[in-house]
């Protein structure tokens, strides 16, 4: 075969080595609610948490909305494989929440040790929350951070420890149950998650991290994260998640509500690495006041199907949003990710930069919305979206929507889709680098703008994930 007619070379990539995440612990002795969804189950969850009446009302109203709300038929990946009749909405080991790893049951402690959470807490975090299935099993914060007046606890604990009024004023106010079907489901069966309160003017010196582990097969995880950063305060919050792979569907329908006060800053970083039987239907939203800033750093590597679009409501003058995201879709994955930005005040700013990589038959869809309201005078928005296709079995789509209603706004958008150029690989190989390594270098370089936004240890984790994805022979 002549050189000219020879087929182009491409990476033949192996499946991810998920041994780091893919281990199962026994559920013996665990409490597991019946599969499916009913008013009885919702009341049982509420009773278990000894909730105030208004929270039970919210759950029941959410259940009603869930039952009435259809899934959109004209967009998004299929969730036909998800049957709520075969999902248990509440599973717990029964372990009490601990503030010392020594008090966490051995098998659960072992899980988090294998994931490196206690080590990260010792070296670089201000506090850690660890959720196992439906309940938090560990929550702790450094003393010096607590002395600043920072509150970091489970939502349930906060409800019983003097924060009920604050929680009632904020809980599911940014993401109401009417938002979409799985927001309603979340409202009905939420359990676990974190409450963070940073007083005005306080800078939290190290990040806080919550890690969510779903161990049970055929179960759902519905944690709620509520963060309030008061005026002039500053926080970096990190969220991680993983699960072992089963041959039945698991569901994650968490909810994140972030309130960023005047002149405050919140960075919210996520490395999502759910197993590939997971339906990840998560909702995240931030409301930002005058001069406040929300920064999202989002890495989506796992799950079978994802619907994930962190949204930012820029309500105060000069408030800003930065969204930096990467999505890596491999075989059997259909990841529909992106973001939403709503600019509703003068001189607001938004910057969106995303990268996506598709390989091995994976489907990656970048979906975004930018809405500039008439109030957003002199608003500036830039959106950049780059997609890399590693083979011709995969798919990469970009579906960005823009709705501009301000005469003085400026909105710029650019997107590209392509493959690794042969010239780049040839150049690297001419410098003595093997083809495999050259391709991995290019992909790592492609993802570098995202990884540099993460704390070192998480950037390393992300780079390792990419390296694992890229391992394999050259065809």
């Amino acid at each position: 075969m002549s050189e000219a007619s020879a087929p182009r070379k491409r990476s033949e990539v192996a499946d991810v080595d998920r041994s780091l995440y893919d281990f199962v612990k026994s559920e013996e002795g665990y409490e597991r609610f019946d599969d499916g969804l009913s008013e009885e189950i919702v009341r049982e969850i509420s009773a278990k948490k000894d909730e105030p009446e208004w929270m039970l009302d919210l759950r029941l109203r959410s259940l009603e909305i869930y039952e009435k709300t259809p899934m959109p038929k004209n967009w998004g990946p299929s969730i036909e494989g998800l049957d709520m009749a075969h999902i248990s909405t509440y599973v717990t080991s029964g372990a009490d929440q601990a503030t010392s790893w020594e008090d966490v049951p051995d098998d659960i402690k072992d899980t988090f040790e294998r994931l490196g959470i206690p080590e990260a807490e010792r070296t670089s975090l201000a506090g850690v929350g660890a959720q196992y299935d439906s309940e938090l099993v560990y929550h702790n914060m450094r003393e010096e951070v607590a002395e600043l007046g920072v509150v970091y606890s489970g939502i349930e604990e906060a409800l019983h420890e003097g924060w009920e009024d604050v929680i009632r004023a904020h809980f599911m106010k940014l993401v109401p149950p009417t938002d979409h079907k799985f927001a309603a489901l979340h409202g009905a069966v939420w359990s676990g998650g974190s409450f963070v309160y940073v007083p005005a003017g306080v800078t939290v010196p190290y990040p806080l991290q919550s890690y969510f582990r779903l161990n049970a097969a055929g179960a759902g995880q519905f944690e709620h994260t509520l963060i309030i950063v008061e005026p002039g305060a500053d926080l970096h919050f990190i969220e991680g998640c993983s699960a072992p792979k089963y041959n039945v569907a698991n569901l994650h329908a968490g909810c994140v509500e972030l309130f960023v006060g005047k002149g405050a800053r919140l960075r919210y970083s996520t490395i999502e690495n759910w197993s590939k039987n997971m339906y990840n239907l998560n909702t995240k939203r931030a409301r930002v006041e005058e001069d406040g800033a929300i920064e999202w750093v989002s890495g989506s590597f796992g799950s079978h199907v994802s619907y994930l679009y962190p949204s930012s409501l820029l309500m105060g003058a000069r408030s800003s949003c930065e969204f930096t995201g990467i999505t890596f879709a491999g075989g059997g994955q259909d990841l529909d990710t992106g973001c939403k930005v709503h600019l509703a005040a003068p001189d607001t700013r938004a910057s969106v930069a995303t990268k996506s990589i598709s390989k091995g038959g994976g489907v990656s869809t970048f979906r975004s919305s930018v809405v500039v309201t008439p109030k957003a005078e002199r608003a500036k928005v830039s959106v950049s979206c780059q997609s890399l296709m590693l083979d011709d079995e995969s798919r990469s789509d970009t579906i960005p929507a823009m709705d501009v209603r301000s005469a003085s706004a400026q909105v710029g958008h650019e997107a590209t889709i392509g493959r690794i150029s042969d010239d780049t690989i040839a150049y690297l190989m001419s410098r003595g680098i093997g083809e495999d390594e050259a391709r991995t270098m290019v992909v790592n370089g492609f993802a570098e703008p995202i990884s540099k936004e993460l704390p070192l240890e998480y950037a390393v984790e992300m780079n390792n994930l990419i390296k694992l994805e890229m391992e394999g022979a050259i065809g």
Partner: protein
Amino acid sequence: MSAFEKTLAGVDAARAQTWNWLAINETTLEVPGNPEPVALDLPSWARDVRLVAGAEAQGWLDELTSEPLLGASTADEAASILAYLGDVEGEALDVSAASLLCEEGAWGEATIIAAGSAPTTGNTCRLSLRKGASATVDILVARPEDAIHVQSFGATLAEDATLALRVWILGAATTTLAIACDLVGARARFTSELRYLGAAEETIDITYDVRQLGRNTEAEIGASGVLEGSAEKTLRASIDLVRGCKGSKGSESETVLVAGEGVRNKTLPVILCSEDDVQGDHGATIGSLSLEQTGFLASRGLSEADIVALAGQAVIDDAASALGDVALAEIVGWTRAARGPEASAQAADAGALIHGTFCDVPGEEV
């Protein structure tokens, strides 16, 4: 009974849809009903051309078309189709269809002019370009501010075929435009330039749906326009790089000057890709004049209003330059009604400069 008797759902619909709350996926339009539908008779090559106007809208257009225009270009003889719409005395509706077949190596052209005073006009243009054929299609919408124009367009391109589509939307209460193009053969090439003006309460709704199926095909969509007053414009542009279209390139770009407090500009530039050895890109710049731009031009004696007027005039002059031989009177007449005698005189000059044609400016001694 209302003058509008029929509601067409999904007139323009994006192939890859998104959140329904954005109200960008498709549009609905009220049009006059049709008491006497006719069966549209088309040759098989025309029936095979894919259209994306939406089933209700296309059905409405088809059943109003009694005498479709047909043209066939051969290597020896070029066909040229010219369809004028809207110039029907006392009629509420003027709907037509134009279909053009370009045989192997042939060249042809089609021109659709929607410019008369009939309240509602519509047209379906179908093109089939065989191997190595090429065609140019021009569409002009220069309607009164209370008129509606519904345009459907579809083209199928075989190996090495080339299509250049130019569209000018100068005015109408509502213009909908659904463009489909299938680049089936290797090295087929589609370019489209869309220029528009929106003013007052006008609505412009455009869908492009381009599928690149053959190897080494190229698609390039460019759109630019000026929106004033409370005009609303929606552009959905989809390029689908279908598995197997190795070596293909698809590109979309849009520039919108937002120059009115009540303007609403919606853009959905989509790239769908299931092939790795391709290049796809899109870019959009939407907004007002920057302080640097206005400052620089102010130093040359131009106010912001002058600059917006110049940008609008550029669209009109471009249409006059391109269509001066077939539609200069319509462009000049529309410009006079919409923007005044000075602007229309300038449009006449722009047409005359290129085509050497002389056009009376209506209502003026020349």
